[in-house]
């Protein structure tokens, strides 16, 4: 008897390895790009945005108490 699943299982394993490698490469690239771009964006996110009072919307609904 021959097991018809053997070659198919091998193809699945190969495909998984290929996809895993591709994922690792793309993931690494994403991390690199994210880190690089984050280095320029991060300070802006940390510093509070300061605006002149005339730009405030005094009538904007809010849920602050008091």
């Amino acid at each position: 008897m021959s097991d018809g699943r053997e070659p198919q299982a091998g193809a699945v394993v190969a495909r998984r390895r290929f996809l895993g490698l591709l994922g690792a490469l793309l993931g690494g690239l994403g991390v690199t790009l994210g880190t690089t771009s984050g280095a320029t964006r991060q300070p802006e996110a940390d510093v509070p945005r300061e605006r002149p009072l005339k730009e405030a919307d005094f009538y904007r609904p809010h849920d602050l108490a008091g």
């Binding site: 509070p48 945005r49 009072l53 005094f58 009538y59 809010h62 602050l64 008091g66």
Partner: protein, 326 residues
Amino acid sequence: MTAVTCELCPRACVIPEGAAGDCRVRVNLGGKLRATTYGRPSAVHIDPMEKKPLYHFHPGSRIFSLGTAGCNLHCLNCQNWQLSQRGGDEVEQTYRAEPAEVVAAAKGEGCRSIAYTYSDPVVFYEYVEDTATLARAAGLTNVFVTAAYINREPLRRICRVLDAAHGDLKGFDDGFYRRVSGATLKPVLDALVTFREEGVWLEVINLVIPTLNDDLAMIRRMARWMVAELGADTPLHFSRFSPQYRMRNLPPTPVETLVRARAEALDAGLRYVYIGNVRGDTGSSTVCPRDGTLLIGRSGFTITANHLTADGRCPTCNDKIPGVWQ
């Protein structure tokens, strides 16, 4: 290195050079105490006066309201924690607003008053003082919405430019203050008395939190203290708790609890006791203590009826109703 002691509130923070006090916004710069949030409010809105809430002070008017980052209390249930429990450089947004700009904006929007609110104005004291001084000169009134955790001397000084205060009496138990707010009761009581002594119109709020400060015997003691020390005509607002910040394990206050608290306070001798933060008009209207005439009807922040005479009297019995009505 010169440390400075902040004498503004009972914490009396000893602040090393380059560091901040417990409130996060009062800092020691070169041996001098500075508020980093001076001229830098992070919340600026125009609200109904009833939202502060003040019910006996220019009812139905709009009030220009601002607050900065920082607070000298750390209440587990703080509704405004994203503002109050952060330093000036940690909030998402600030506005550049020198005192003169605030006054001009308030007048330009047709407001009669400015509220120093949202976080505790104690921690932006100098900003309040300078703005309120200009506001008064411009014909506006000033409202201080506070937890009243402030030393007597600076409070007396700021009272010179205040017209009304909304004082938060969080509970009538020192242990409650320590556990929930990281503060103490006695200075708050002293401050509320000082507002009254200095002739600032005062209304008191008590947030009723299930299981923590909803004991009716304690509420009765609080009301009796108010009658004796602040006067029976001082309005008291019982406000409904909703789960917030670090106190999400408790349910909202049942309306029945607020109704019972109100009855207890009225029975103890207070003449104007209100319920807030609930839908509808339960306990939110002003009635004449003598004859029950409806004086001011409210639903939420809206005035639904105003039967007060022009000089603030009951139209039925002609009794003078305490407040600032004109």
